[in-house]
């Protein structure tokens, strides 16, 4: 139950969506693009999100594509996490998505919503941080930008912009990869630490959620992990020096404990690559 009312708009083209936003804004409204609406509802009922005009992007065809081209995988932002995992075109994304919430909720949660949400974890971000990926963003114009550049703690969207698609290089879809989600004590639910990883051109890449209030990939941390001259243990000890701050310290676990869990998880990742494929 929400304390606030809003108008509801369901544009069927990108253009329409953008212009509705602009008109609403001119009318002094606080419009919000949305996909699954799960965060709007759950944070909205606690008054942590507010809008008086929701723009539902689910009816825009571009936001619902899920296709492989010669070179790329194209995923619409309004695809549900279930739709992604069922087709399983990007296995690491499927694995990561399957760690989010629960199956029924994933029938509603969208890729774009998870990436653009407020929640610290935003786990669906991880595979895109690791691969050669691009975000297609609609606003006054439609721009395609490297995901790596446009994602810095949050997806850097301008006012009135929304995420349309994610494009990933086909070559990166089936690299050796690894995903592990560690929770406080349970099989589903929020992470203590989620680590997603691929190995590309002999180099291990790592992206992490749950450790900090945002998902991240750190080049320095990766450099340390790839320093094959020293033992795995030393590499990990070096790597954790490069974890950005702050480290979460909350109901899921203390900061100290999260580091302990991270160390173990990194060890699992490195060992799994050493043992060959994952």
């Amino acid at each position: 139950m929400l304390s606030f009312d809003f108008d509801y708009h369901a544009p069927s083209t990108l253009k329409e969506a953008v212009s509705i936003y602009q008109i609403l804004e001119r009318q002094g409204k606080q419009p919000l693009f949305y996909g699954g609406g799960t965060e709007v509802l759950t944070l909205g009922r606690l008054n942590l999100v507010y809008s008086d005009a929701l723009i539902d992007i689910k009816n825009i065809p571009e936001c619902r594509v899920q296709m492989l081209t010669d070179k790329h995988l194209v995923l619409g932002a309004a695809l549900t996490l279930t739709a992604l995992t069922e087709r399983n075109l990007f296995p690491l994304l499927s694995k990561t998505a399957r760690g989010v919430a629960d199956h029924t909720a994933r029938n509603k949660i969208t890729l774009g919503g998870n990436i653009c949400g407020e929640i610290f974890y935003r786990e669906a971000v991880l595979p895109f941080l690791l691969t050669d990926s691009y975000a297609v963003i609609a606003g006054n114009e439609i721009r395609t930008v490297s995901f790596d550049e446009v994602f810095n703690q949050f997806l850097q969207l301008g006012k009135g912009e929304f995420l349309v698609q994610l494009i990933t290089n086909r070559n990166d879809l089936r690299l050796p990869q690894f995903h592990i989600k560690r929770r406080k004590q349970w099989n589903i639910g929020y992470p203590l630490v989620t680590v997603a990883s691929i190995k590309k051109a002999g180099t291990v890449r790592i992206a992490i959620s749950g450790l900090c209030p945002f998902p991240f990939r750190s080049k320095k941390l990766e450099e340390a992990l790839n320093n094959n001259d020293i033992s795995i243990e030393s590499r990990i000890n070096e790597a954790i020096q490069h974890v950005p701050s702050p480290i979460l310290h909350d109901v899921e676990g203390s900061d100290e404990y999260r580091i302990f869990v991270l160390k173990n998880t990194l060890q699992d990742v490195l060992e799994s690559y050493q043992g060959g494929e994952s």
């Binding site: 606030f4 009312d5 809003f6 509801y8 609406g37 509802l41 029924t104 909720a105 509603k108």
Partner: protein, 161 residues
């Protein structure tokens, strides 16, 4: 852009095989409309936060937490609630296997199980777990629910043979 002053809108919902005209506000959840406007109180509020599954219904063939869906998103979709199931095998199995006690989680659990047996007749243990962990039952030990679901899945398989 026209924005009407009244938040209410008249829409038609397709629920349990019937078309129901109903007055909704965009901010109403599907759960609220089902229970309060349509009197279908079988779907239960357990958290209103997407966490417990007590409100689970079936939307276009898929399990859906009706507290996580705006009613305004529902027109044009086929909704089945627990009241729309009549003597299905999964309902019988729940009785036979003592798969509930207080019954409060039961509508949601059955609706989720219903989607499972309809959509994934070959579900293995892993998939069964993945789907059923969406709901909380506080009374049973889940063993009874597992027996109920598996009895339906296996009897369906036997029928096919």
């Amino acid at each position: 852009m026209k924005t009407s002053s009244s938040p209410f809108r008249e829409v038609s919902l397709h629920v349990n095989g019937e078309i129901k005209p109903v007055l909704i506000k965009p901010s109403d959840t599907l759960l609220y409309i089902l229970r309060v406007k349509l009197g279908l109180t079988g779907s239960k509020p357990g958290c209103l936060n997407g966490d417990c599954g007590a409100c689970t219904v079936n939307v276009d063939g898929m399990a859906m937490k009706s507290c996580l869906m705006f009613a305004i998103e529902a027109p044009g979709k086929r909704i089945i609630t627990i009241e729309g199931l009549k003597g299905t095998p999964i309902q019988h199995a729940f009785i036979k296997e003592f798969a509930f006690q207080c019954g409060y989680c039961t509508s949601g659990f059955i609706m989720n199980c219903y989607s499972l047996v309809e959509n994934y007749p070959d579900a293995n243990d892993e998939l069964i777990t993945e789907m059923l962990e969406s709901n909380i039952c506080r009374c049973t030990g889940y063993q009874e629910i597992e027996n109920a679901v598996k009895s339906v899945l296996s009897s369906n398989k036997n029928l096919e043979k």
